[in-house]
Symmetry: C2
Subunit: 515 residues, 2 copies
């Protein structure tokens, strides 16, 4: 009925993966569409449905196309297209139903996730879905279907192995290079462990940032597969892969809002997408960590384990001590160096304790007894180091790299204890902020080296930590943060052990996701 | 810290009033910002905060500016700006707090509404707020503060009168030209009634579309004031004014989602913005109307009256019969003609009944007794017609217009009863769709003339309704809808009276907004 012929104005950039077109408000009136309505656009034998953005002062006889739509139509500037109103997509009807309190079934969820991935859902609709799930909470059934749909709408890594081990940390603790020790231990013992990691967002380094100091991490799924087939393991950046891509789109709207209803499905989807069958979930716990108390860690673990079990994935959780950095080093290069030193037999006790505890749980899940001893032996014997060098080589790095080859920032400033006493408070957030301000993770050599651990006795004049930076300006800015935030306090001491608790509960009847 | 100098690429159109800029993903990484973070942009002595949209394949050293930001910076293509990350705006912190279940106070709500109007809130954040309020429901206090903030962040009409009357209909009934009779009645009796109306969205005509047949309706607040000062009344389009502009922005995200937590505050804000002191709320009720039952109408009325009272506005509600069109005519020109005929003394009974009932309530609210008789007298004496012609003239139309001067569509098709019987069902939605398909409201002469009323006796061969269109193609499309939807059914009869109930409850202690 209201079909119009419009000329194409190429906007020349992407719309974040979405199918969006721009039309003038008078054109919108002629088409009888409003912002966020859909139109169908035809050109020759091609057609595409897109979300309308109505803009004032857009040229009258034109339709503005972002790259996504332009690429599908194979079109160029000033070409003519036919534009007509399109109906409301089914996925939007399901989102509206969710807003009215309905539970979504598998088919509806699959359609919603498909349309999210294909760019047919606007930010407004996606945000409404995310907020609705924040308020209504997913049922176990919905969580299950969202997870499956997120996996199935992305690429998948298929490995010829019945057992695929994996680990995931909820993060939040500075300096946590545990994966860089666990992966080579597990791989050296003949098990498959295709580890994907993220880059830092609010921290000074993610595992992908750390590993990148030793080898390239931006691999494709095919390249990742090759590395794993060759070495049993890998340490790659998940962001370059299209594993469960719905998650990346959903996170974009969750992030400014500070809500995360897709938290558990997102993590499990990423693990399922690489074919993991046995996964240990590391939950760093304590003041200053993401999960402050053991009882909260337990609830979260039970939710994860229950959903994982419904998805056919065996999961156990390690509640770990998260009140201070792991090891001494924070920042990509400093941490890569510490990981390498640890694999070479000279690592800090807490890092060795944590890594062998987690590797041990994985080894026991895979049918071994005395997992922790097995892990420790693989580390102490040099098998894990050898395996790490194989992985580094397979990913395209230098297998003969020595700790001293790793360049760290040459602008440094060291802080010393002003009085005698015990280390009684280390502020994780402050350390992350100092590391970031010093330039990490972008400046790989930037970071912090912390000499002390909670509960340790120090004397006035003992070094507490050194800031590393690649530029003096950034070093000075980091020093300013130290003055403001005092990241380490000296006083009465406490003692810490790394593994607080191991949780391997069999799923219960209670739907724990209904938090 | 992360400040960058970027060249300006003018996008050349608006971003829906929002302060949005586009940068490439590599530029975003350098600035350490993500999509929906804020940046501050400086040029000479000007600066502006904007929401970041990260686009792939956007030229590297450039920042894309929509008109809103470009106008503030007074900038041109290829100029250089300084760009740096900006913190999280307070309004976003308040929205996050709301998502965690908090009640918002007056100051927080004011800041949120200001930032909505000024374009500092992204669609994602606005949608989260709207969805949060859909789930949590506004408290009476929050509704009060949102209403006030919506009024105060827009223009206001200030009239030198202690009593300002007004009416508002919740709509949903085709052919409801009641305002075009009520306004001149009230104005002719010496009371001020500055009526703003909307255009049709899902219907065949809004009051602004109808009135536009007789006179221009796109007036500024100043022009509207002039008309009211001259004639006591007006009938103008609200969309051209900047009265409570937050509402227009909020509706844009509510519309695709089918939720409307701002329903009551939005309507009251528009009334407060023109200074209304006594308002009658028309709630068309019945099957096929927006409010299906009288008990729902009562609840809604109480919510409105309670909030209005807290805002110092006297409100009464008229629950009116909404199961069939008002009068006979549907569509801008047909309705304008019927309104004019009614003012000239020859209108349909139900329209006269409804208009004088509502005018009567208003007159009694203003201190008169026998409001309905007063209204009827103003109509029958020709005073209301004379007043309407003054208003038409003041708004720039022809005061001597005769019903026959009003052109209606010359392509027509009439439907006849196939059997004897009573009119027992009229489908409002079907009539609206037929009218729209015939071309209304864009084609002013398009519409439907319905000859029969619910419960009337008809004989086989009696005309039921005529479709009017300005184009044969649209007429044929409308005929197709008739075949599919059968808008009028003949069978056993029922009788209808227009005013079902008058509600003037004094506010109760119960917080009725917590539905």
């Amino acid at each position: 009925m209201n079909e119009l012929r419009l000329k194409v104005k190429m906007l020349g950039f992407q719309a974040g993966g979405k199918h969006i077109v721009i039309i003038d408000d008078e054109v919108a009136a002629k088409l009888d569409v409003r912002s966020l309505d859909r139109v169908v656009i035809r050109h020759n034998d091609r057609e595409v449905v897109a979300i309308v953005n109505v803009a004032k002062f857009f040229p009258g006889d034109f339709i503005g196309l972002y790259d996504e739509v332009a690429n599908i139509l194979k079109i160029k500037e000033e070409d003519t297209v036919e534009v007509a109103p399109a109906g409301v997509p089914d996925s939007l009807l399901y989102i509206r139903r969710k807003l009215m309190g309905a539970r979504l079934n598998a088919r509806e969820i699959r359609k919603i996730v498909e349309d999210i991935v294909d760019g047919y859902i606007s930010d407004v609709e996606l945000t409404a879905l995310v907020t609705a799930l924040h308020y209504q909470h997913m049922s176990l059934e919905e969580a299950l279907n969202f997870t499956k749909a997120m996996v199935e709408t992305g690429e998948m890594l298929r490995l010829p192995s019945k057992i695929v081990l994996d680990k995931h940390s909820l993060g939040g603790v500075p300096g946590d290079k545990t994966s860089m020790i666990v992966v080579p231990i597990i791989a050296s013992l003949g098990y498959i462990i295709p580890k994907t990691s993220s880059r830092a967002i609010t921290s000074a380094a993610g595992t992908a940032d750390r590993m990148e100091v030793l080898a390239p991490v931006s691999l494709s799924v095919e390249e990742m597969k090759e590395v794993v087939l060759k070495t049993n393991g890998c340490l790659v950046w998940g962001g370059a892969l299209r594993l469960a891509p719905a998650d990346d789109i959903i996170i974009r709207v969750e992030y400014p809002l500070g809500i995360d209803p897709f938290f558990i499905p997102s993590i499990l989807a990423k693990k399922l997408a690489v074919g993991s069958t046995h996964v240990v979930l590391d939950i760093p716990t304590g003041r200053g960590a993401k999960v402050p108390t053991i009882s909260e860690a337990r609830n979260l673990a039970h939710d994860f384990i229950q959903l994982a079990s419904r998805l056919g994935m065996k999961m156990e959780a390690a509640v770990t001590y998260g009140e201070q950095p792991i090891g001494h080093a924070i920042g990509p290069a400093l941490e890569a160096r510490e990981a390498l030193i640890t694999l070479m037999g000279k690592g800090p006790k807490d890092l060795i304790d944590k890594a062998t505890s987690i590797a041990g749980i994985l080894l026991e899940m895979a049918g071994n007894t005395n997992g922790r001893e097995l892990a420790l032996k693989a580390l102490q014997s040099g098998k894990a180091e050898k395996k790490m060098r194989e992985i580094i080589e397979a990913q395209g790095g230098d297998p003969n790299i020595k700790p001293d080859d790793i360049k760290v920032g040459d602008k440094t400033f060291t802080y010393y204890a002003e009085t005698d006493g015990f280390v009684f408070w280390i502020n994780n957030q402050a350390l992350a902020l100092i590391g970031k301000t010093a330039g990490a993770p972008k400046d790989k050599g930037a970071g912090i080296y912390v000499y002390v651990k909670l509960g340790e006795k120090v004397k006035a004049g003992d070094p507490l930590f050194t800031i590393y930076a690649e530029s003096s300006v950034k070093l000075q800015a980091a020093e300013k943060i130290v003055d403001e935030m005092k990241p380490i306090a000296i006083g009465r001491g406490i003692k810490a052990k790394m593994l607080l608790e191991k949780i391997d509960t069999k799923p219960e009847k209670v739907v724990m996701l209904e938090r």
